[in-house]
Every structure is written in C-alpha cells, then in structure tokens.
Subunit: 199 residues, 2 copies
C-alpha cells in the first residue's frame, strides 16, 4: 500500500517549523524556502500545503492560538468551579509569558500583530481572535460580578478590555527587559487585587 | 563660496525618510537604498551619514523620541503648574496615538521594539528610553502623592510602570482595530480616575 500522509499533522509540523525559523530572524524575514528547510521537506512539498506566505502565516497563527486555548482550558479545568474570580486570574496570568517557551511564542505573537496592522486578511483574523479572548474574559467577569467577586464601580466589559491591554503592555516591557518576570507578575497581581473583591 | 550642508539637518531628513519608507512596508523590510531614494539622495551620500542600517535606525529612533519629548514638554508647559496629577494625565494621554500621525509614529515604535528584542544595541537604547519615561512619570506621581492627589494604597513606582504598560497595551489594540480611539481614551480615563484622587 502507498504511504499514507497525515496532511493535518504535516501542516502542524510546518507551522512549528515556521515559528522555529522566525525565532532566529523574525517573522518578517522568514521565507517559504527557509521554513521548508526547517521542516525537512522541499519547497515544492511545502507549496503543496500552502500556496503562499500569507496562507502559511494564517495557518501557523491559528495553530498556535489553538495550542494557547488548550493550555488555558487545561489550567482553568483544574480550578475551583465556584470561583469565577480565580478563573479570571488564571486567564490573565496565562497571557503573561513567564518561561522561555512562552516568551518565544509571545514574541512571535507581537510580530504577527505588526504584520496584521499592514495586511487586511491577517488583521481580520487577529481581530476575531482578540474579540474571542475578550468575550471569554468578559463572561468570567460577569459571573464574578454576580458572585460579588468584582469590586464596586467596575464593569465586566471595560475590565476585560483593560485587563487585556495591561497584560499586553506589560508583556512588551518584559520582552524589552524593562521589567523582570517578577515585576511583571507583581504589577498584574496588584491590579487584579483591586479589580477582584475579596481575593 | 561652496554650498554649506547642515549635516544635522540632513541626518534629520534621512530619519524622516526612513519613517516614511517604513510606513508602507514595515521597518524590517526597508533597505538603505530605499531610504536614500525616499530622501532624494544617492546611496553613497546616505552612507556618508550612516555606515550601516543599525546606525541609521538608532539615529532615527533618537530623532523621533526627541520629537516626542518636545511634544509632551510643550503640552505639559501649558498646564497648571500646581497640579502634578494634571501632568500625569497629560503624559499618559500623549502616549496614546489618537491622530493619524501619532498612529504612524506609534506603529514604527512597535516595529522598533521588535527589532530591539533581537538586537542588543537597539535593545539597550530602547531600555534607556523606557526607563527615562518611567522616571519622569514616577517623579510626577511622587509629587502627586505629596499633594494628596494619589489614591490611597498606590505607590509612584508601581503606578508609573503599570500606567506605561496599560498605555502600551491599549495602543497595540487600537492599532489592531480591536479598540476605537474613543474606547481607548475612555479605558485610560477610567483608570486614571481611580489612581488619581479627587481628579
């Protein structure tokens, strides 16, 4: 029988190769050829899966966000189901890259944001992802409010947007080496302590 | 008499040409040759001023931060000298790019941050700039504290770092089109209202 190729697995391997290649030189500078080399396949084989750079980028970003969602979901599942505030904390903390793997992933994410600001298709995708994250957080904050775990004068909609903004800005400063991992976590903790009542 | 060339002015023109060229294609992708074309000079003339890409980038970033400092200083000078809280608001608001010019500049800044995360020399420069900004803000927050304009339980050091983090994260979401200019300003206003007492 002819060898069966698992096309979805192959696409996943290519996505991982893209992130690895991008880590060294930046997402902007990575060519299809370099990704093929990193994945150990020919350029022609790569082009069998992705017709152009944008298609590959989109897939690679979707692949990575799926991994992120799985990571957050796995963490949230270990938590006390009765405390939405604990879930808010977990989601926000997962946005802060504290180990080397998360840092590399987060730097790719920043590169992608920059590409997205110049490319309408990638931009639309990035906006959908960002809104989905905000919706999840807003939902947990609304539950926290109902459980009297949200501080007075705070509304779930604004808090979700502000928490994400703060996490992304702190993350940028962590990458730059302006903040240490510990400072970053403390700045976020202090903020969460003000937003979430009694936790 | 031979024509006198104002070298500092020429370097400034090249910096502006770099930002213009980078706006279309991204800072990562701009070559020295493209910048020369945009500035209306030859590649050789450009190389008379900057030996390589990194040198040009460093100068262009310093040039832009000088412009930023001038803009913020000009605004702060129009304010009531007796209210450090008003100065804190002004500095933070100047970090949020509300018009097209500021948006373009801010996007360049994000590109530069990404470059800085991969390039030690640019990184060191970016850290110096970031720390200088934080020091200015921390100083005004300390004055606000002395004037009873800082909310209880807030310290100038953490607040300076957190305000900058929030401003940078909101800015990224504004660029992506996830937040409108008005939403961005409101999210920051609400936060400032909690941090600054009685304002």
């Amino acid at each position: 029988v002819p060898k069966q190729v698992d096309h979805e697995a192959r696409r996943g391997e290519i996505a991982v190769a893209l992130w690895r290649a991008a880590q060294a030189r930046g997402l902007d500078r990575v060519s299809l050829r370099e990704v093929a080399t990193e994945a150990g396949i020919s350029l022609g084989q790569l082009q069998h899966y992705f017709a152009n750079r944008d298609e590959m980028m989109l897939f690679a970003v979707e692949f990575m966000s799926k991994k992120n969602v799985e990571r957050v979901a796995a963490r949230v599942l270990t938590l006390d189901a009765n405390s939405p505030a604990a879930r808010v904390r977990a989601i926000v903390q997962e946005m802060l890259p504290v180990d080397d793997d998360a840092k590399a992933g987060s730097l790719m994410n920043l590169s992608f944001l920059l590409e997205a600001a110049r490319n309408e298709k990638l931009g639309a995708h990035a906006r959908r992802r960002a809104l989905a994250l905000r919706n999840v957080l807003e939902g947990q904050l609304a539950l926290a409010m109902r459980a009297d775990e949200l501080s007075a004068g705070h509304d779930p909609t604004s808090e979700a947007a502000r928490l994400i903004g703060l996490a992304e800005g702190l993350r940028a400063n962590l990458h730059l080496g302006v903040l240490s991992t510990e400072e970053t976590l403390t700045l976020m903790e202090q903020y969460l302590d003000r937003v979430l009542a009694g936790h």
